[in-house]
């Protein structure tokens, strides 16, 4: 292709983080009036790539060429200024400002010699933009009062108001209803018609195939290939996404004896805006995975099982007796552990030492007189035990948790739940943001725990984890059970297909 045609082109773009090459010599391009779908498993490097284009990260190597001129961004503003708008999953909107104000924040039209905001003009312009995109939205309503889809629209309108020539959308439809998705699609097509270049990231293949003109697949930081939608099939794409998944544990699988007695039984379980009528049984010593892309409701289901968010309907019985779990405390008392996917905001106790982070959950049990006197010896003992068992690398028990590597932090969080010697363990994204070495280690640990009789429920957005780790894997799509795999029937391509709602028979 000749350089003039592209809106944006990356040449040998590279970005490395300690332990990982997140983006590896990527050549990628998108043309005016083109929707270019970008797909790939989590950790494939998509988000790093768009963060580079958005001016969040400076690249370590390679160039970015916008409309034929090389550009270098040291800030998000510069990227915006040169005509690129990135719409991240977590929006950058101000809840207490109106839609119109958000669209034009920092660039409000002025009157009275630039002293006051000209709200008539502001609202008019905003309305105009929304109208051209046929967005049914009141420009005066507060962003805090509008739905996610509508916020999505505001972000798009904001991008247009910057008259950006390239709009990058990260999973725009992940949490939307079918109807809303339709609306967004119209808007995106509308954008294409106006000659805007669009990079469209999605986990839902059928969306990509409906919208995109071309599709690029990334895996392990590399771009596998770029193809015209017309000349490719979903199955090809899936194959490219999955690549060769090494199946370490499968050898051992045969050795493992089949079903044991049930531990946790869930019947007809529903959670508001998450899952509908889910039933499953978790057996002792079993690793059960729930697979599902953003918006599948997996996280909602698991959080609700631990009592973080309320359930709408359904029965849960633990060790054969029906139980009610309204608060995490209830779950912990029963012997259910939980490791959050949001280590920073919901897991770590940043002000505390590693020791205290570990033992906080059982500190009462580790002390005389209902918590009145902590037995240091006992505390150190349980600490030492966990440290040895998970082999956590740290300078000493009093070291602040925040100075541990991600992997070791994760081990501490797992260790915390183990201290309650729970019978069941719920893990969300157990290896998110952890380097390769630590990943394998945590997988090994989880497997050992299961072999020692602990039952594990986990969810992950990383394919190898779903393929290798669990004994069983249930796939949810838009809140409902889409497929179930045992070790015997496990097939990574089918798994991916099911996750992204592509039920048409992938080649077995």
């Amino acid at each position: 292709m000749d350089g003039g045609v592209e809106r944006l082109r990356t040449i040998q773009l590279t970005k490395t983080f300690p332990g990982v090459v997140a983006v590896d010599k990527v050549d990628f391009d998108v043309r005016p009036g083109e929707i270019h779908a970008l797909v790939g498993e989590n950790g494939a490097g998509k988000s790093t790539l768009i963060k580079i284009l958005g001016g969040v990260y400076p690249p370590d190597g390679g160039q970015v060429v916008m409309d034929g001129r090389e550009v270098v961004f040291s800030s998000t503003h510069e990227s915006l200024a040169s005509g690129i708008s990135v719409i991240y999953q977590e929006f950058n909107l101000v809840p207490d400002l109106s839609v119109a104000e958000n669209i034009f924040i920092g660039r409000e039209p002025k009157t009275f010699g630039g002293t006051l905001v000209d709200f008539r003009k502001l609202n008019a312009r905003a309305a105009e933009i929304l109208a051209t995109l046929e967005m049914p939205l009141d420009v005066k309503s507060y962003v805090s009062d509008i739905s996610v889809a509508e916020r999505q629209m505001v972000e798009i309108a904001k991008a247009l108001s910057h008259d950006s020539r390239l709009i990058i959308m990260d999973e725009p439809t992940a949490t939307l209803t079918e109807k809303e998705v339709r609306k967004i699609f119209e808007i995106v097509k509308n954008l294409r018609a106006r000659g805007v270049a669009i990079i469209y990231i999605s986990h839902r293949l059928e969306e990509a195939f409906e919208l995109a003109d071309r599709i690029s697949v990334m895996r392990d930081g590399r771009k596998v290939d770029t193809r015209a939608i017309a000349s490719t099939s979903k199955n090809d794409v899936i194959e490219m996404m999955v690549g060769k998944v090494v199946k370490e544990y499968f050898a051992e699988a045969g050795a493992r004896e089949a079903p044991r007695q049930p531990l946790l039984e869930v019947r007809g379980y529903s959670v508001a805006d998450a899952v509908e009528d889910i039933s499953f049984t978790l057996h002792r010593g079993e690793i059960l995975a729930f697979a599902g892309v953003l918006g599948s409701g997996v996280h909602g289901l698991l959080q609700s099982l631990f009592g973080v968010i309320p359930k709408k309907a359904g029965e849960v019985s633990f060790e054969g007796t029906p139980v009610h779990i309204d608060r995490p405390a209830d779950a912990i008392r029963l012997g259910i552990g939980y490791v959050t996917e949001d280590r920073k905001n919901a897991g770590l106790l940043p002000a505390m030492s590693v020791l205290h982070n570990l033992t906080v959950i059982i500190i009462r049990a580790l002390s005389f007189l209902r918590g009145l006197f902590i037995r240091d010896a006992a505390e150190m003992k349980s600490f030492a035990a966990i440290r040895a068992r998970l082999d956590i690398k740290l300078a000493g028990p009093t070291q602040r948790i925040i100075f541990l590597s991600g992997g070791n932090q994760q081990k501490v969080l797992i260790g915390r739940t183990l201290l309650t010697d729970c019978k069941a363990l719920i893990l969300l994204e157990p290896t998110r943001g952890i380097d390769i070495g630590a990943k394998a280690e945590i997988h090994r640990i989880l497997r050992e725990l299961a072999d020692k009789g602990l039952s594990i429920i986990l969810t992950s957005s990383e394919l190898p984890e779903l393929v290798n780790l669990p004994d069983r894997c249930i796939v949810l799509y838009k809140g409902r059970k889409a497929a179930e795999f045992t070790r015997a029937t496990m097939d990574s391509e089918k798994l991916v297909a099911a996750q992204i709602g592509h039920t048409g028979g992938a080649r077995a």
Partner: protein, 324 residues
């Protein structure tokens, strides 16, 4: 973050936590001792130590409170109410009883604040702002604005007596701080306070009853204010519904923050509050003895506070945290 470098940072920061203020105090003491022999007299040092306890004891509860991420500015009025109530009852229920009533009253006030904050979810600052009016008003009305004098020997001893030449307030302070440090480091409650303060969600996910802990923290504020009130009342020999505890809230908060407790919660320094109360007391005392114009004393105190908080900023920056 790189573990080793991180560890070096903690090393510095943690040393500042335990030795920063003591070092400053030592410098202060030495300087003023050289400037004024009267400052250095054992008597002066001791009596100021006793004086510092009036704020110091009150600060203990506030350390818990601020560590848990909250705040109480009603302590001054609380103190007045508890004081007049207790003192007025000496005749009927005797000194010991009256002292207990004083502490109990303040504790109840703390509990009430806690309920407003945890159950009605009204920000602590606003709640305690409102209760500040209420408590003070009740104190006025109850006494019809007449000071209540402490004649009871037992109560008087608590604030003005000495044991082996050591003013009794010092002993009370030592005991209180020892207890507080113990609670903070050696009881599950102490751990929970830090956990709630540093990350509510994580605490909740670890099965901690966050609301209960928060409420208990306000009770603690009340409890220690109660003790401080007992000592103050006896130190002054009277309680005055209008005077007692005027501006106490800000004295206490100043000491806590100066002591290195971050208003963002989680990172607290109990002994720091103790040292801070010493520091400010000796600073004032020294400036006074050197006959420094009291207008300049305002300026000095303000500057010291800014400076100290600035240092805590640096510290927390080293520790990789942010102040709100």
């Amino acid at each position: 973050m790189n573990g080793v470098r991180g560890h070096a940072r903690v090393w510095i920061a943690s040393r500042w936590d335990s030795f920063g203020l003591p070092a400053l105090i030592s410098i202060l003491l030495v300087t003023f001792s050289l400037l004024s022999s009267t400052f250095a007299s054992g008597f002066n040092l001791l009596s100021n130590l006793a004086f510092s306890s009036l704020v110091g004891i009150g600060a203990i509860g506030m350390v818990f409170c601020i560590m848990s991420g909250d705040f109480d500015i009603s302590v001054g009025s609380m103190s007045a109410l508890a004081g007049v109530l207790g003192a007025s009852l000496v005749g009927r229920i005797g000194g010991v009883g009256a002292v207990l009533v004083t502490v109990a009253t303040a504790t109840v006030c703390g509990f009430v604040n806690g309920v407003f904050v945890t159950k009605l979810k009204i920000p602590a600052f606003i709640t305690t702002l409102g209760m500040q009016y209420v408590y003070r008003a009740i104190a006025y009305i109850y006494t019809s604005n007449t000071p209540v004098y402490i004649k009871d020997p037992f109560w008087l001893f608590l604030g003005s007596g000495t044991v082996l030449g050591i003013p009794f307030p010092i002993i009370i302070t030592v005991v209180c701080f020892a207890a507080a440090v113990y609670v903070l480091r050696k009881t599950s409650f102490g751990r929970y306070v830090v956990a709630v303060g540093t990350n509510k969600t994580a605490a909740m996910l670890s099965g901690i009853n966050v609301d209960f802990i928060k409420n208990m923290v306000f009770v603690l504020v009340g409890f220690f204010v109660g003790i401080a009130t007992v000592v103050t009342a006896s130190y002054l020999g009277s309680v005055n519904p209008g005077m007692t505890g005027q501006g106490y809230e800000f004295q206490v908060i100043t000491v806590v923050v100066l002591g290195g407790t971050a208003l963002t919660g989680g990172n607290g320094n109990m002994l720091g509050a103790f040292f801070a109360s010493l520091f400010l007391t000796y600073l004032q005392n020294g400036l006074g003895l050197k006959q420094v114009n009291s207008y300049w004393q305002f300026v000095a105190t303000g500057l010291v506070l800014i400076f100290a908080v600035g240092i805590n900023r640096v510290k927390s920056a080293l520790l990789g945290q942010r102040e709100a």
